[in-house]
Subunit: 223 residues, 2 copies
Amino acid sequence: MEEIKIIELKESVFADNDAEAEKLRQSLKKRGTFLINMMSSPGAGKTSTLKALIPKLAQNHSVSVMEADIDGAIDADEIQEETGAHAVQLHTGGMCHLDAGMTEQGIDSLGDTPSDIVFLENVGNLVCPAEFDTGAAINAVILSVPEGDDKPLKYPLMFEKADVVILNKCDVLPYFDFDLDTFKKYLRDRNDSCDLIQISAKTGDGTDELAAWIERAYETWRA
Amino acid sequence: MEEIKIIELKESVFADNDAEAEKLRQSLKKRGTFLINMMSSPGAGKTSTLKALIPKLAQNHSVSVMEADIDGAIDADEIQEETGAHAVQLHTGGMCHLDAGMTEQGIDSLGDTPSDIVFLENVGNLVCPAEFDTGAAINAVILSVPEGDDKPLKYPLMFEKADVVILNKCDVLPYFDFDLDTFKKYLRDRNDSCDLIQISAKTGDGTDELAAWIERAYETWRA
């Protein structure tokens, strides 16, 4: 198994992150790389969702993963070992989010043969990553059942920025006081256009639907 | 029931947060207020831990709570309604953490009769709050079982800054792949002096021990 490359990201030098993000988005479009920015709290299940998704997407597409963390490399290790997808580990040097410049460094580290689909697993943080456009085509936000149904109320921007909200760990709904209707109400107060997909990365429930959603988004983006 | 006061915090003007935090810590010491800064990811159970703790602590002490959120007031509402403790809601104006200046605005909003023990429920975020000294006497970090055993590896500073780490939601250990030994190893790699207390805020398990820990810390601080 190929050893995981660890990239120590440098702080971005760009004053205008939005402009830099737009430039990156256009360059990714030109080279045919569909970048998905996955955001969530720590431990909501970004990595396990990717492990469930990648084998489905890899049937028709090449897939790579950029794992951003403050420290450690176990996510990239796991992804590469368990799915075979090419994965790099990005270290943020303590930073709480990725911006477009940092994302670009990650993309560059993937090498010259870009994949059809690249996942950026952002730093686990339900606040700051929402403030920085990474240049991705799609923002996917994962919330997990144990975190509670009130999160769209308390963390508005993250849910406002979502193209799709993935409600993960639905297998443990019986063990938590999570009211789906309350959650949906708070979510729709923040964002009435995003899609909502319920999954359990652990049992696999809903991951076919999620993979189909991503395939459709990819096809729409390519068209 | 007294209506919840919502304080819209102003951005701090202090260049040197550490100095401001030290000043606040000394002023709180002088007036006999033991400030506990509670930090965690979103949904790890800060509010439910407080709801379990306050009735125990309130037998011997006056207790107040400052609930910091980007938006909403349901935490402060819940605390005040269910425990009777005086609670204020702090709105951070989108900010991902509290610094000493913002904490001081919260303290001021509690009024002239300070409680023995004041809890600051920081913004749910396992990254940024660790970077800002709030002036608290104690940093308590809550991690919940569903977040996973690898969090001290990935979020180093938060665990380095902890005086006590509270492992919450231990009632659902059977339903999650959370290895206690792995967690303890990662935690000790970051911090070999903090205490570790396992609880379930939901069932109440371990909350007597946690209340006793806080009482001891309070007595040590007063001495």
